[in-house]
């Protein structure tokens, strides 16, 4: 069984990028019933287009229906699921077993995947969800490699695990810090990430200060990066390897999907240590918070928490996308500033990364320029070879 590489997408552009760079399936959120309310999310027309893009390439599209619904959130659910089914959506991801059962009744062609929000962590939870007729379980992120292996070997249900992206510091779905601290419902798409705030610690009677004023207490988790354990996960035949991040940029999606695609496709050809090292280098080129390897090998300790750091992870290395090739010149759609003599690197799904020094740039009026700075404008420059349309270009930091 070949493993599925499952990527996130916040809109059609990122969906297409995820497929272009090697995702086997993409998960998206609709405008309703989905967490990540701040992701741009898909209209019904977008979802229809997304299904077509996926199926034209022989790939799959999943839709998150993963809120923990309140009584009044069921209004319109049957119609919504029926529409998704009619569009050809391959699966929905649910946190509500009632919604899953409704889907099985009104949308029988769609698989129902149980979200990590229900924190399934043992074989009996899998048996429970199987007894309800569901098709796949996304495991709790607290599971170790041995936990995953044991459950995969029992072959109860196909198993999906996270390999990259944001981590809840708390057990997913069982945290309401945001509800209390900002009145935003974490389990219905409004998580304010209150865990990442700073807290003072005192004794219970508040008479003794415990925390260090120079380094306050926080529950801010580093992101997950499971590369060191990827080979083991591949060997144990999990059904799907999932990348988190429906709110991430197209560059992030391209870089992360490309790196994991490359790892999976070449896992048997390359020396594992070097393969892991080169993949980590590739992944580090995407904007990201600091990472750790999750619960796969050991219980995460202080090295899994970001003390004294506010977020981070924005970089401006992504400078453009190849949009057109005319003779010996290529047109690049600009995203971030770059200059003549900068070292750039192009990457895409079909070739190894290629580097060159920028020279002989022209703007859309065919005027010679030394600096490209206007986002979404096009500049041309001599082609490098090989090159393909829609490949991404980033700046190589000296």
């Amino acid at each position: 069984m070949s493993v599925e590489l499952l990527a996130p997408a916040g809109d059609l552009l990122r969906l297409k990028v995820a497929f272009d760079f090697g995702a086997d399936a993409v998960f998206i959120g609709g405008k309703a019933f989905s967490l990540r309310a701040r992701a741009s999310n898909f209209t019904m027309d977008d979802i229809q287009q997304g299904v077509k893009i996926a199926h034209d390439r022989g790939k799959k599209l999943f839709v998150t229906v993963n809120i923990v619904p309140h009584e009044d959130n069921f209004e319109g659910i049957e119609q919504y699921l029926t529409q998704l089914n009619a569009m050809g959506v391959d699966a929905i991801i649910v946190a509500s077993i009632a919604m899953g059962k409704i889907s099985k009744r009104v949308a029988p062609n769609m698989e129902v995947h149980i979200s990590t929000q229900v924190s399934a962590a043992n074989e009996h939870a899998l048996r429970f969800y199987k007894s309800l007729g569901f098709d796949r379980v996304v495991l709790a992120r607290e599971c170790s490699l041995e936990d995953v292996r044991a459950m995969v070997n029992l072959n109860i249900l196909p198993i999906e695990v996270f390999i990259h992206g944001g981590m809840c510091v708390n057990v997913s779905g069982r945290c309401t810090l945001s509800n209390h601290m900002s009145l935003r419902d974490a389990n219905r798409g409004g998580c304010a990430q209150s865990c990442r705030w700073r807290y003072e610690l005192t004794s219970l009677d508040e008479q003794t200060m415990i925390s260090d004023p120079n380094l306050t207490f926080t529950m801010s988790s580093k992101d997950l990066n499971a590369t060191p354990h990827l080979k083991e996960l591949l060997e144990m035949n999990v059904a799907s390897l999932k990348i988190e991040g429906r709110m991430k940029s197209e560059y992030y999606v391209a870089t992360i999907v490309n790196a994991y695609r490359h790892f999976i496709d070449h896992v048997d050809e390359l020396d594992e240590d070097n393969h892991v090292a080169s993949t980590l280098v590739e992944l580090s080129k995407a904007a990201s918070r600091a990472t750790f390897d999750g619960f796969y090998k050991t219980l995460p300790h202080s090295s899994s928490i970001l003390y004294g750091v506010n977020g981070g992870g924005i970089n401006q290395d992504f400078v453009g996308v190849v949009r057109k090739i005319e003779g010996d010149r290529m047109w690049v759609e600009v995203r971030n500033v770059f200059n003549e003599n900068d070292v750039l690197e192009v990457f895409g799904p079909n070739h190894e990364n290629r580097q060159w020094i920028v020279s002989n740039m022209r703007n859309e009026d065919e005027e010679s320029i030394t600096r490209a700075y206007q986002p979404m404008s096009w500049v041309s420059m001599p082609c490098i070879h090989p090159i393909e349309i829609d490949e991404f270009i980033r700046k190589v930091t000296p």
């Binding site: 309310a37 009584e71 009996h124 899998l126 309800l132 936990d147 069982r174 945290c175 700073r198 610690l201």
Partner: protein, 283 residues
């Protein structure tokens, strides 16, 4: 109304056995951290007898998720738990409930999870799947809790009074922090204060991870809830004398927000008035 009361220590147990509580909630060592009083399997059997001899029932509470390896290591013990003379088993992990049902547990099974059942459709699905009772999500508004009380008064188990869990992490977050600031002797129970506001919370770290509780007592004194078949009192971070007073007030029909507030050293609230910003937040 049958009243479940959490037992936090041997001393508390003695007092609660003398009270009008109907059901004593205790834990099995290795499965509940320091959330409630826990005993070994060997200690559990005679303890059940003692509690029954006092005319009360026993609820064994498993508050947290069970990882596959932990479950497997303890599977034989859990099979034996299914056949003990327990009256109720409360499961925070759906897999444990399913396992106990498959092993013909004699006890009534409660799906006891702070967040997962926020509507009656999910509640019915859990009941159809073998659970006998369930706890509605704690952080839904009073109006939404009333829907459960009206529609499912015999199966919904409401927390009527006490502190309540608002997050649980499998990571040792306190110990990790103490390591970073070189504080080897830091306590495992703390008060957390948001730096941006004055809101405060209780923190507890045990062998199950780090757990955050609200520092205000949740009080449901509405007749709708008091008319249900079951009620629950949680007593972590609370003086047992207060817990005993709640039991007395509930049994004497004098339980109210104001009386709890009058006798408590903690702040009191009715629960969140609004948590409906989720779907709209940031869009």
């Amino acid at each position: 109304m049958k009243l479940f009361v959490e037992v936090n220590s041997t001393e508390n147990l003695r007092l609660i056995l003398e009270s009008q509580a109907d059901i004593c909630v205790i834990g099995l060592r290795g499965f509940c951290g320091e959330r409630i009083m826990s005993v070994t399997f060997e200690e559990l059997v005679p303890l059940i007898t003692i509690i029954h001899d006092h005319g009360k029932e026993v609820c064994l509470f498993f508050p947290y998720i069970l990882l596959q390896s932990h479950f497997k290591t303890n599977e034989e013990t859990l099979k034996q738990v299914a056949h003990l003379n327990l009256d109720y088993i409360a499961c925070g992990d759906v897999g444990l409930g399913y396992f106990l049902k498959q092993h013909q547990s004699k006890a009534k099974l409660i799906f006891m999870n702070e967040t997962m059942i926020a509507n009656t459709f999910d509640a019915h699905t859990f009941l159809e799947s073998g659970f006998d009772l369930f706890t509605p999500a704690i952080d839904i508004t009073l109006d939404k809790k009333r829907i459960f009380a009206h529609k499912m008064p015999k199966q919904a188990l409401f927390q009527l009074c006490g502190t309540h869990l608002i997050s649980t992490s499998h990571r040792p977050l306190l110990r990790s922090y103490y390591d970073v600031i070189n504080k080897e002797d830091g306590p495992n129970q703390v008060k957390l204060k948001e730096l941006s506001r004055d809101a405060k919370y209780f923190g507890l770290e045990d062998d199950q991870g780090f757990h955050v509780f609200h520092d205000r007592l949740l009080v449901l004194d509405d007749p709708t809830f008091l008319a249900c078949d079951y009620g629950y009192l949680s007593s972590l971070f609370v003086n047992v004398k207060e817990t005993l007073l709640w039991i007395e007030m509930l049994k004497n029909h004098t339980f109210s927000y104001d009386t709890v507030k009058h006798h408590s050293t903690l702040h009191v609230y009715h629960g969140l008035e609004e948590t409906d910003k989720g779907l709209e937040a940031g869009t």
